[in-house]
Structures are given as structure tokens and as C-alpha cells.
């Protein structure tokens, strides 16, 4: 740090970057403060989601059979596709930050737009999945009916899926009650995650506009990097949600 301060042209008219706030000695120090501040915010987010993960784990241990059975109602195709889409959006976000670092304004804007598009694709797939849950009476509440799916499949001449799986230790009444817990957690966790995605796209709209207006350069691009940290965090939450919700027990 001291070598930066003692830099030869310190004190020159152009020594201070226009984005440098007066209470910071150097741009590097200012950046460091922003990074630590952002990580502190992300820690509160980790523990925020952590509470839900604890609730999930306790009920999963208590009602494992119900979680295994309810988890099979989720579509592996849509869930897997969304995982790939979100990982792809993390790559485009990382490339957006890199373009900002290397002072490529046009590339920064393009990568950010692509990231937002992938984020919207994710949310669109989530709408398809939620719609299916509403249609099959799998939304917790008054109309929740776990056996609707099988009755509906039987009525259309399909073999009931349950017969392919191992024998469960639950009566239909127990299954009706305990799978409802699973779907409550499913909607709370994926819903909160989707809310973060919507906020993330909103943040990125502002950042993209700022980048387009030329607010950033190779030295000052902190907002792009902070938006990136937020976006990657949301990606990590999904990296855990996918196996926990979609892959409880698929091998029987």
C-alpha cells in the first residue's frame, strides 16, 4: 500500500481518480473497503438462507420418505436446464467484470445484457415449473392434494408411478400432510431465490446503464464487480437448492 502512496506522480493534478472519495487515500483502499462491505452483506444473506436450510434439513431427517416422494414430482429437465442457465449467467457476469477491468465499455454492456437475458430465462422456466405445481394441486394450502397427480395419471391410462418405487412407510394421510411441508419449503426457498434473481436483474439494469454512459474505466468499476458478487452468490444458493430439492432420492 505504501508504495502506491509514494508513487512518483502523487500530488500531480491527475493523481486522484475522479471516482475517489476524499476519505480514502487510494483507489485500491477504496476498492478494498467496498469488497469487504459487500462480503459482510453477503454473510447476512448466507445466514438468511441458512435458516431455511436448517428448517429443510430438520424436516428432511424427520420425514425423509415424504421428501423423497415429493421430490420426484419436480422436473429434472427444467431443474437441470435452469442450473445450466444460471451457471452460464455466472460465466457471462464474470466476463462482464473482466471487460470492465480491461476498460472495454461495449463488451461490458453486452455481457451484462446477456447475463440479464439468462436471468430472465431462469425466471421464465421457474414460471413453467410453478404453473405445473398449481395445476397438479401441489401448492400448500386448502387445495393441496398430493394424490391428485396419481389419480390424474391413472385416469389418462398411465401406470401409477409410485409402484416403481420402494415401499413407503407412510399412510396416504401422512403422505398428504408431510409432503405439504416439503412443498412449503420448496416454494419458500425457490421463491426467495427467485426474488433475489429479480432484484439482481434490477441492479444490473442500473449498472448496464451506468456502463453505457461511460461511468467506469479500468481503475473504477466497483459497481460492476459488486453486482457480480451478488449475482454469483445467488448462483451459489441455487447450486445447493438443486440437489436438495430435485435430487432427494432418485435411484429407487
Amino acid at each position: 500500500m505504501s508504495s502506491t502512496v509514494a508513487h512518483a506522480d502523487h500530488g500531480h493534478a491527475h493523481a486522484h481518480h475522479p471516482a475517489q472519495q476524499h476519505h480514502f487515500d487510494t483507489m485500491a483502499q477504496q476498492k478494498e473497503a467496498a469488497v469487504i462491505g459487500m462480503w459482510l452483506f453477503l454473510l447476512t444473506e448466507i445466514l438468511f438462507f441458512g435458516g431455511l436450510f436448517v428448517a429443510y434439513m430438520i424436516y428432511r431427517v424427520w420425514y425423509f420418505d415424504a421428501f423423497a416422494e415429493a421430490s420426484r414430482r419436480l422436473s429434472l429437465f427444467w431443474g437441470g436446464l435452469n442450473t445450466a442457465v444460471l451457471i452460464g449467467s455466472s460465466l457471462t457476469m464474470a466476463l462482464a467484470v473482466r471487460a470492465a477491468q480491461t476498460n472495454k465499455r461495449k463488451a461490458t454492456v453486452n455481457w451484462l445484457i446477456l447475463t440479464m437475458i439468462l436471468g430472465c430465462v431462469f425466471l421464465g422456466v421457474k414460471v413453467i415449473e410453478y404453473e405445473d405445481k398449481f395445476a397438479n394441486h401441489e401448492v400448500p394450502g386448502y387445495n393441496f392434494d398430493f394424490s391428485y397427480h396419481e389419480r390424474h395419471a391413472a385416469a389418462e391410462g398411465h401406470a401409477p408411478e409410485a409402484s416403481e418405487h420402494r415401499e413407503l412407510s407412510l399412510t396416504p394421510e401422512q403422505l398428504q400432510n408431510t409432503t405439504q411441508l416439503y412443498f412449503s419449503l420448496y416454494f419458500t426457498m425457490t421463491g426467495l431465490h427467485a426474488l433475489h434473481m429479480i432484484i439482481g436483474v434490477g441492479i444490473m439494469l442500473v449498472i448496464t446503464w451506468m456502463a453505457h454512459k461511460g461511468k467506469f474505466d479500468g481503475v473504477y468499476y466497483t459497481p460492476v464487480e459488486m453486482a457480480g458478487l451478488y449475482w454469483h452468490f445467488v448462483d451459489i444458493v441455487w447450486i445447493f437448492l438443486f440437489p436438495l430439492l430435485y435430487l432427494v432420492e432418485r435411484h429407487t
Binding site: E32, G88, R98, F233
Partner: protein, 121 residues
């Protein structure tokens, strides 16, 4: 930007690194789906979590640039993970080991699910 700054939080990674991490994350996703269809007994869950943690570490370390951040930033993150471990660990130990809460045991009801009947309600 001075050379000094490029060793700090402003480290610029090659595009090839980001592509490599992206591919590793995709392979990890395929692995976790594949592993879910293999009967590993009680190891299914640990394997799924091991893959998820590995993927998360790759994102944090490379995409989120923590590898090139200061010790203070790394310590900040480690503190949060420590408290998350306490939250998860202690709560699970408590709920799975104590008997003061009437623990629901759905397995106590003898298996009647071989031929599922439509729930009447």
C-alpha cells in the same frame, strides 16, 4: 494502473480460466444428477453435498475473485461460514438427538403404501 494494484483486488484473470471454471461447474452438475440415480446407500446425500460444496468453492474462489483478495476479506468470509456451520451443526444435533420434543416417527406406522389409494378428504 500501477503493477502494484494489479496484484490486489484488481487482478485480471485470463478468459480461459473462466471458461475452465464454467466447464467444471457443468461437469459437476452432470455428476450430481448422475450420482443421484446410483444407489450409494447412505452416501447419496454426502456425495451430492460434496459436489455442491466443490462447485460453490470454485465460484467463490475464481468467479468472485476471493483467491486474489486480501486476508481480511478471506477472514470475513471464513467468519460467516463458521457461523453457518454452528447454525446447521448445532441445530441438527439438537433436533436429532434430544427427546424433549415429541419427535414424529412416520416409520412407526406400518407400511400401507404398497398399493396407494386416493386420499379421501
Amino acid at each position: 494502473m500501477s503493477d502494484h494494484a494489479s496484484h490486489g483486488s484488481g487482478h485480471i484473470s485470463p478468459i480461459s480460466l473462466y471458461i475452465t471454471i464454467f466447464l467444471a461447474l457443468m461437469v459437476g452438475t452432470a455428476l450430481t444428477v448422475g450420482a443421484a440415480f446410483v444407489d450409494l446407500g447412505s452416501l447419496n446425500f454426502p456425495v451430492a453435498m460434496l459436489i455442491a460444496v466443490t462447485k460453490a468453492v470454485l465460484v467463490v474462489w475464481y468467479f468472485m475473485h476471493v483467491k486474489w483478495q486480501s486476508h481480511l476479506t478471506k477472514l470475513t468470509l471464513a467468519t460467516g461460514l463458521f457461523f453457518l456451520a454452528i447454525l446447521l451443526g448445532m441445530m441438527l444435533i439438537d433436533y436429532t438427538s434430544k427427546d424433549f420434543i415429541a419427535m414424529p416417527r412416520p416409520t412407526d406406522a406400518a407400511g400401507q403404501m404398497a398399493a396407494p389409494e386416493p386420499a379421501s378428504h
